[in-house]
């Protein structure tokens, strides 16, 4: 194996990158996924400063938020790809080791679109000083982790005060995000939309109740929705720096157009024209299996895979399901550690909206989902697996809405 590193890396970091490569290759050979996590972890142990060394002298963007990180990062990587090579943690490993793994292969001057976990963002961004940070939204994710939404917003706000050369691209429709981004040195305000307002009812600045109407939100302390320079104004239309432009994606739903608007606004900071950005983003059809159609089981039934891992995500999926032909819906619902052990949040989802569709339920907590649907008066059947459910459906193609581990397991089974 020949490896050449630019001169400027310290010997320690060169060793760390070699270790990363070896571990990733071994992990790939042993079939343990992409190996980003294990390689990155080992490399950080060898050289704790490696992230700063490989990340700080290049043009990078970090994407963070509760929902839409992976999709937005993928869209941004495509847009930045119009300028040259782009590195990205496309496998979804979004803590420091995953970010390091994405940055640890040549060319070391390639731009990077990096998905970063909400809690990890300060640590990663302090190391690599990104040119742009995208802040999408903050909502409840896993109830049992007690991730206070305001605490995350406050961490982000403090971070921005330190990053003097970083521009934040922030969603004005999320009050927590707008408040967090208000502390940064330069903002690009985007109206990407917010379907889910239940987690942003209290002003993050003064703890009084927020006021809302159709055109925005405000608080008695003076905090209010900033005027956006980019906004989603229709299903295929954006307001873009004072003009209205058409915007088309292959990814479905208004929520993804919001993600694309954020990505395009970030790409503009790197010098990408909006037309070029959308031309590059349009062809993206699935993100790590999301929105992709797969074969379910031996009988050749097909399912479109959709991910919904928290109330905000489910409300987005409801909107997306309403856009498409009314197929049977399979709900695959787990409550493993990575999902959050507490399934109570399904009572915040307006499942009443599924009335009129055939609904089929499966997963580790199928009984909880079944009770929720019974009280929503949505007739449904319960099945041992998503494959069984698809077989019991009235049509050959179904929509499958799964939460995190259910989705991951489905993807593994379907790609075998």
């Amino acid at each position: 194996m020949t490896t050449s590193f630019p001169r400027r890396f310290t010997a320690r970091t060169q060793a760390a990158l070699a270790v990363e490569r070896l571990a990733a290759e071994a992990s790939r050979r042993l079939g343990r996924g992409s190996g980003e996590m294990i390689g990155g972890k080992l490399a950080l142990r060898v050289s704790p400063g490696a992230l700063a060394e490989v990340g700080s002298h290049r043009r990078t963007a970090c994407v963070s938020g509760t929902n839409g990180k992976t999709t937005t990062t993928r869209l941004l990587a495509r847009a930045l790809g119009t300028l040259g090579p782009v590195k990205s943690n496309s496998g979804g490993a979004n803590m420091a080791p995953g970010v390091l793994a994405a940055l640890s292969r040549p060319p070391f001057d390639a731009a990077a679109a990096l998905e970063v976990d909400e809690i990890w963002l300060p640590k990663v961004a302090r190391e690599i000083s990104p040119r742009v940070v995208l802040l999408l939204n903050i909502s409840r994710d896993q109830l049992d982790r007690s991730n206070e939404t305001r605490r995350i917003a406050s961490m982000w706000r403090e971070l921005g005060a330190e990053l003097k050369d970083t521009t934040v691209v922030a969603n004005v429709d999320d009050p927590l995000v707008a408040w967090a981004a208000g502390g940064w040195h330069r903002q690009v305000w985007v109206s990407a939309g917010q379907n889910w307002t239940a987690d942003a009812m209290v002003c993050p600045q003064c703890a009084r109740l927020l006021h809302r109407n159709d055109s925005g939100w405000w608080s008695e302390c003076g905090l209010a929705r900033p005027e956006p320079i980019v906004a989603v104004t229709g299903p295929r239309e954006l307001l873009w720096y004072g003009r209205t432009i058409p915007a088309h994606l292959d990814l479905p739903g208004r929520v993804n157009l919001g993600n694309a608007a954020m990505a395009a606004a970030a790409a503009r900071e790197f010098g990408v024209e909006v037309e070029a950005a959308f031309a590059a983003m349009a062809g993206l059809g699935d993100v790590q299996g999301r929105y992709q159609e797969v074969v379910l089981g031996e009988q050749g039934r097909r399912g479109r895979l959709l991910l919904a891992k928290n109330p905000a995500g489910w409300v987005e999926m409801m909107e997306l399901l309403a856009d498409a032909p009314p197929r049977p819906v399979v709900i695959d619902f787990n409550s493993q550690t990575a999902d959050g052990r507490d399934p109570s949040w399904i009572w915040d989802v307006p499942f009443e909206r599924l009335a009129g569709r055939q609904v089929l339920v499966t997963g580790g907590r199928k009984e909880d989902m079944s009770v929720r649907l019974a009280y929503a008066e949505v007739p449904h059947s319960v099945h041992a697996s998503a494959e069984d459910a698809a077989l019991a459906a009235n049509e050959k193609v179904v929509d499958v809405v799964a939460n995190y581990t259910a989705f991951r397991d489905l993807l593994v089974r379907c790609s075998r």
Partner: protein, 253 residues
């Protein structure tokens, strides 16, 4: 007692006390009346608006620190819940809501005054000051209810940092004995091992789930208190299946 007017269920400040799906308790109560052919009205009391004193059942759910303090201030101000309980209304208060209906509760490093509806107090810890505070109580919880209630085992999920105990001379009795999980936690006087309180028609508990979805008999108990004898209703078959699944999943220690 037979009534013809709609039973009014007040969901108190769902924006502040709705972090853990407890709004589901209102859905469950309303449906169990509707399925019996009885009229019901769910009153969403938005944070910032006055709590009406004319409702039959008041529901308070769980919430994060700052919203909990806001909610306590709001319900303390007009004392509508206290008046309503005085004229026969029932209360189900869960987690942060449970702490708020007591005398005092901790939040953001300070002790706040509650509604004083039941004689309980909540602290971060009741252990001697030199002992580190207990870890957050997060996980499945199983409670064997007080036999006076005539209820089957209660299943739920808890997520709270506070520990709660009855004040000397408190009325009512604990909701039940904790079989799995923490509940009120160690009260420091050797009286730990229980969860919640039942005092007249007021029930407080740490159980999310939502608690009434997992335990329909508790929902019917609340409804009977304000409605009198109810026509029988087989719990939805789904709820029986869920309880059996929970029983099996939580049987192992």
């Amino acid at each position: 007692m037979r009534r013809t007017s709609a039973t009014r269920i007040a969901l108190i400040y769902p924006e502040l006390l709705g972090t853990y799906g407890d709004g589901g308790n209102a859905i469950v109560l309303a449906q169990r009346l509707r399925w019996r052919g009885l009229p019901v009205e769910v009153v969403n009391v938005a944070a910032g608006s006055p709590v009406p004193d004319s409702c039959d059942i008041y529901l308070l759910g769980g919430g994060e620190d700052a919203p909990q303090v806001l909610a306590a201030d709001g319900i303390r101000q007009n004392r509508a819940i206290v008046r309503a309980v005085g004229s026969g209304a029932a209360v189900l208060a869960v987690c942060a809501g449970y702490q708020v209906i007591g005398a005092t509760f901790p939040s953001g490093g300070e002790i706040h005054e509650g509604l004083n509806l039941v004689d309980i107090e909540t602290r971060r810890s009741f252990a001697p000051p030199e002992t580190p505070p207990p870890t957050r109580a997060v996980g499945d919880i199983v409670v064997e209810p007080d036999p006076r209630l005539g209820l089957p085992t209660l299943y739920g999920y808890e997520n709270h940092a506070g520990r709660t105990r009855r004040l000397p001379g408190a009325g009512g009795f604990p909701l039940g004995a904790v079989r799995r999980g923490i509940g009120d936690g160690d009260s420091g006087d050797g009286g730990g091992g229980t969860d919640g309180i039942v005092d007249g028609r007021v029930i407080g508990t740490y159980l999310h789930g939502p608690v009434l979805a997992q335990n329909p008999a508790l929902a019917d108990l609340l409804l009977t208190w304000v409605h009198g004898q109810l026509p029988p209703l087989e719990a939805p078959q789904e709820a029986q299946v869920l309880r059996e699944a929970r029983r099996r999943a939580l049987a192992a220690p």
